[in-house]
């Protein structure tokens, strides 16, 4: 049984702020031994300050690495771990100097989902690749995944 946190964050602005702070705290934990990096947050807006839809709930970017992280949080729909991830390009084709390769993680917040997200973000912020095992068309599960986690990667049209 998975315990989801902040289940009503979309309906409660105080809860929403606590969720934002939760992800900032997780991010700071990931980055605490990586002080020489140029990663900064936030990177992406929801569209308006009063639009608290979790899309995204957290984002960060490194101009030198041309990489970004975008976390989208949704309300839980089951008592299982709910997390999907994919990579995409923002603002141009792969060889475009302005293009940012992003890791997108969409999840319902639970300890397991957050730990799994952190396990993907850690190597990503260092510029490393993330290993995925293909399961079927369009769905890919990473090596350290377990049964309830699904990670997929969209084949980006911008990729070389």
């Amino acid at each position: 049984m998975i315990t989801h946190f902040f289940k009503n964050f979309l309906a409660n602005s105080d809860e929403y702020r606590r969720v934002e702070n939760y992800w900032i705290s997780r991010w700071n934990d990931i980055m605490k031994n990586r002080l020489d990096s140029d990663w900064s947050y936030p990177w992406i807006s929801t569209g308006a300050p009063d639009l608290l839809d979790g899309n995204p709930i957290f984002s960060a970017v490194s101009p030198s690495k041309r990489r970004g992280v975008r976390i989208i949080q949704h309300e839980p729909t089951s008592d299982k771990v709910e997390i999907l991830a994919w990579t995409d390009l923002v603002g141009g084709k792969f060889h475009d100097p302005d293009a940012i390769q992003e890791l997108v993680i969409s999840c319902a917040l639970s300890d397991a989902a957050a730990d799994f997200a952190a396990a993907m973000i850690g190597p990503w912020v260092e510029g490393k690749s993330i290993s995925f095992n293909r399961v079927d068309g369009g769905r890919i599960i990473p090596d350290n995944d377990h049964d309830d986690c699904r990670v997929s990667r969209i084949r980006s049209p911008f990729a070389a």
Binding site: P42, W43, I44, S45, T46, G47, A48, P49, D50, L51, D53, G54, N55, P56, R70, I72, H74, T77, E82, L84, W86, D88, V90, G91, V104, S106, A108, G137, G138, R139, R150, S152, R153, I154, R155, S156, P157
Partner: protein, 104 residues
């Protein structure tokens, strides 16, 4: 140009996009038209796989109209729909890179 962005459908070996790069903010009506054009371009089957994504993208535009348009980018505004994502990776994205969009 001062106002630039793109609406795109991707996933499942499909990629289609409708972009804008213009001197004035994108009208919401043009945003709706872009969604309709994307549906037409990817065809009925792929549209059906993105029904919820298109619905949520339209709702986002509705919400921007209600407040007089999006905030001015940067920071980038980037939305991926549907949320929660469908397991087949069919996605509709709305990106606003510069300026404002979806004004009434």
């Amino acid at each position: 140009m001062d106002h630039r962005g793109v609406i795109q459908a991707q996933g499942g070996s499909v990629y289609a996009s409708k972009g804008w790069d213009q001197e004035s903010p994108l009208l919401a009506s043009t945003g709706y038209a872009h969604l309709d054009s994307l549906k037409e371009e990817i065809g009925q089957r792929e549209t059906e796989l993105r029904v919820e994504g298109f619905r949520q993208a339209k709702t986002f535009i509705d919400r921007m109209i209600a407040r007089g348009g999006s905030e001015t980018a940067p920071p980038i505004i980037r939305k991926s729909y549907p949320q929660p994502p469908n397991k087949k990776g069919r996605i509709v994205d709305i990106d606003i890179f510069y300026g404002k969009a979806f004004i009434p």
